[in-house]
């Protein structure tokens, strides 16, 4: 449970940061005013740091987990957040020239900004459960494919989604390059399907034990918000 809580804390911190005026300057999040709009930018920044710190605290105190596993989970989480994860992905996203961005650029941004946390979430849980390297490799494949599918779906929702069901404003990323704008909606949908197929197939060594993870693929494909 502890790794899941930690990932959620990191995720929440990243959303607070993402909405800041210096980042995406988003007015709403999950159907409600963004944190910085209610409590101010400084409080939002401090809250984000606090959430991150709490995440590592939770991992360090994780019950029923070996010390070695706690270290490994903490490392996975740090990699997802730090210079090889969300932070560098966000930096690349902010500095990208929409007119010159390529598929490789997009992948590099999303792999770090979104995919890294997917990978950390899945691997963290698996490490806590004592998974071996082969299983971790399969789960990493699952998470990478699922993460990219999630991001492309996010781009598609921004292009086609209904603001009432999304809980945030649509079209906010229209000026930015993303998979949906580069590939077009039909090809992006197709790519989402194929990525989810690959994600599901990567779970095959786990059989029915991976049913919950497989359901996530369905959630990603059917998400409307």
């Amino acid at each position: 449970m502890a790794p899941a809580v930690a990932v959620e804390l990191v995720h929440a911190a990243s959303l607070v940061l993402d909405d800041l005026p210096s980042m995406d300057d988003a007015p709403r999040r999950r159907g409600r005013p963004a944190l910085h709009r209610v409590h101010g930018v400084a409080t939002a920044e401090l809250a984000s740091v606090a959430l991150l710190a709490r995440a590592f605290e939770v991992v360090a105190e994780a019950p029923d987990t070996t010390p070695g596993a706690r270290v490994r989970i903490g490392r996975e989480l740090a990699a997802a957040v730090g210079a090889s994860g969300c932070c560098s992905g966000q930096a690349a996203d902010l500095s990208a020239d929409p007119a010159a961005v390529t598929l490789d650029d997009l992948e590099a941004i999303h792999a770090r900004k979104t995919g890294a946390l997917f990978v950390a979430a899945v691997r963290g849980g698996a490490i806590a459960g004592g998974a071996g390297e082969r299983l971790l490799t399969s789960l990493t494949k699952f998470a990478r494919n699922l993460g990219l599918a999630f991001q492309i779906t996010d781009d598609l929702l921004d292009l086609e989604g209904d603001p009432r069901t999304m809980g945030k404003d649509a079209g906010r990323d229209a000026h930015r390059a993303n998979f949906a704008t580069i590939l077009g909606a039909p090809s992006s949908h197709r790519l989402v399907d194929e990525l989810l197929e690959s994600a599901l197939a990567a779970l095959s060594p786990l059989g029915r034990r991976a049913a919950v993870l497989a359901d996530l693929a369905r959630v990603v494909r059917d998400r409307r918000s």
Binding site: P98, A99, A100, V101, T102, L103, D104, E107, A111, K141, R144, N145, L148, A177, T181, I182, L183, G184, S187, R190, L191, D193, E194, L195, L196, E197, S198, A199, L200, A201, A202, L203, S204, L206, G207, R208, A210, A211, V212, A214, D215, R218, R221, D222
Partner: protein
């Protein structure tokens, strides 16, 4: 913005970057999310398609000139395709239930796919093996499209199975090696080659060696003659009680089926005549029998859209020779008047049923015409002569006409029984009813052979033809359903030699006679045969 990559380019690049790295069946994912019910739809359609292709391949290998009529091919294909949709759907339902409970979906899906492909190969191989008289290279060439369709079916079944298993469990196996299916197709083709190559052709027809008989064999075939019920024909019953009687329990059948059983010594499955009317692709000799539940389609809609036509049963539908055809082939001048599914035959004088009925307005008149033709011709040196009399069957609901028909029969019986008593002929009376009304009614063969004493033995309807032929000096065929019943005839008069087979009946495809067919069908309706 840089130039837009295509989907293929994006896919390729993402693969290089480590995504899309699983070996999966691309067609699998969509059906799962599209809904559980749709998962087997492609398998059902491809299954019906493959079965139809296998049927066409088998028929093409056996029916000379079948493929030269594209309409025939199309109709047969559509016919089998539609007919197989229901069984395919039922099998899919079974597979779906199995998939949802499967603990090893990958393995089970592969086994189900192999079984489905095996069914298609089985249909093709057994169909071709059973129908074709000669297995040529062309028979094997048909194996290529059949194998391709079986492979498609295997893939569709496997995907459907996996999709249903995935929908139920969320567990998706990786892609199996396609070589399994390719190997299965190769095994199927190899099995076909081996079976076809080692197939023993049916025994060649031996030229019947005839032991000449001094007197002709006369066969009077009387349909609908009631010899058992409360209103039975007392006069005929009395006349026939003086003969040697072979009997069998009556069972309802169409008149052509019953009387062809008696005339060929073979079962309907062997001789192929079952109904009064068949459905034919326009201009084709091929006759189709609608599978369960599809009659409305073929008989109801087919003729309206011009794909098929209803046609009366004919000699072209019969695959085994009638007894007069065998005797004629053996060199015995033979006469046949009025039988169902009769056709012209070398060495025989054949007056078809339709020719009699075309001139008759009633059953009584049909009998009178048939008897007239028979009486005029039978004295011309025939060794085997037969006449079929439908009057009692047609007039069964009209007491006055039935009485008249019975009087005609009694007169005829009296005449021929008297001749038999004088040893001018061997008389065989076939009295059977295709619509028995009395429980426990019997069909009978009654023999008057010189001074042989009356007796009664149980026989099979299929024993009639070989008995008639054996008494006429023609060896019976061992591949028949029936055998000669010597007890019915004078001691030592029945030919004891046998031959392996009288061979298949090979008849050139008859030219379609749509005008004549329509008239005949109308006549059958007016006489009460067809509703």
């Amino acid at each position: 913005m840089t130039e837009r990559p295509t989907l293929d380019e994006a896919r390729a690049r993402l693969k290089e970057l480590g995504y899309l790295d699983a070996r999966v069946d691309r067609l699998l994912f969509r059906p799962v999310f599209a809904g559980r019910g749709g998962a087997f739809l492609p398998a059902i359609l491809i299954g019906a398609f493959a079965a139809a292709l296998a049927a066409v391949a088998a028929v093409e290998a056996s029916e000379t000139g079948f493929a030269s009529s594209p309409l025939s091919v199309l109709v047969l294909f559509l016919f089998v395709f539609v007919g197989n949709l229901v069984p395919a759907a039922l099998l899919a339902a079974v597979l779906g239930a199995a998939a949802e409970r499967s603990r090893r979906p990958g393995l089970d899906a592969t086994l189900a796919a192999l079984a489905a492909a095996g069914v298609i190969f089985g249909l093709w191989i057994t169909g071709t093996y059973g129908l074709a008289r000669e297995l040529s290279l062309r028979s094997l060439i048909w194996g290529i499209p059949v194998a391709a369709s079986a492979l498609f079916l295997a893939a569709a079944v496997r995907l459907g199975f996996l999709a249903r298993a995935l929908a139920a469990s969320g567990s998706l196996p990786g892609r199996q090696a396609r070589r399994v299916f390719a190997a299965a197709a190769a095994v199927g083709l190899l099995a076909a080659i081996l079976l076809f190559a080692t197939r023993r052709e049916p025994p060649a027809a031996e030229a019947p060696r005839v032991s000449p008989r001094k007197v002709p064999t006369i066969v009077l075939a009387v349909d609908g003659l009631d010899l058992d019920g409360a209103g039975k024909d007392e006069g005929a019953a009395r006349q026939l009680s003086a003969g040697a009687i072979g009997w069998w329990p009556s069972a309802p059948a169409s008149p052509p089926e019953l009387w062809t059983n008696l005339a060929t010594g073979a079962s309907p499955a062997a001789h192929g005549v079952r109904a009064l009317a068949r459905v034919r692709p326009a201009g084709s000799p091929l006759a189709l029998r609608p599978p369960f539940g599809t009659s409305w389609l073929l008989r109801g809609i087919g003729p309206r859209v011009g794909l098929v036509a209803n046609a009366p049963v004919s000699g072209a539908d019969r695959r085994r020779p009638d007894f007069w055809e065998v005797s004629a082939s053996a060199g015995i001048p033979s006469l046949s008047v009025g039988w169902w599914a009769a056709a012209p035959w070398p060495g025989a004088t054949v007056v078809e049923n339709r020719m009699i009925l075309a001139r008759a307005k009633s059953g009584v008149e049909a009998d009178r015409i048939a008897i007239g033709i028979f009486a005029a011709d039978v004295g011309n040196g025939f060794g085997v002569g037969t006449v079929y009399l439908p009057g009692c069957d047609i007039e069964r609901d009209d007491p006055r006409a039935l009485g008249e028909a019975r009087r005609g029969i009694e007169t005829l019986l009296a005449e021929w029984i008297a001749r038999a008593r004088r040893s001018d002929c061997v008389l065989v009376v076939l009295a059977a009813d295709s619509h028995p009304r009395t429980p426990g009614a019997l069909g009978r063969i009654v023999v008057f052979d010189g001074d042989a004493s009356p007796r009664s033995v149980r026989i099979r309807p299929e024993d009639a033809a070989p008995s008639i032929l054996a008494r006429s000096g023609v060896p019976a065929a061992r591949d028949l359903g029936g055998a000669p019943v010597a007890a019915l005839f004078a001691a030592g008069s029945v030919e004891t030699l046998t031959v392996a087979s009288w061979g298949p009946r090979v008849v050139p495809a008859a030219a379609a006679r749509p005008e004549s067919d329509r008239e005949y069908l109308e006549k059958l309706r007016s006489l009460g045969y067809l509703k």
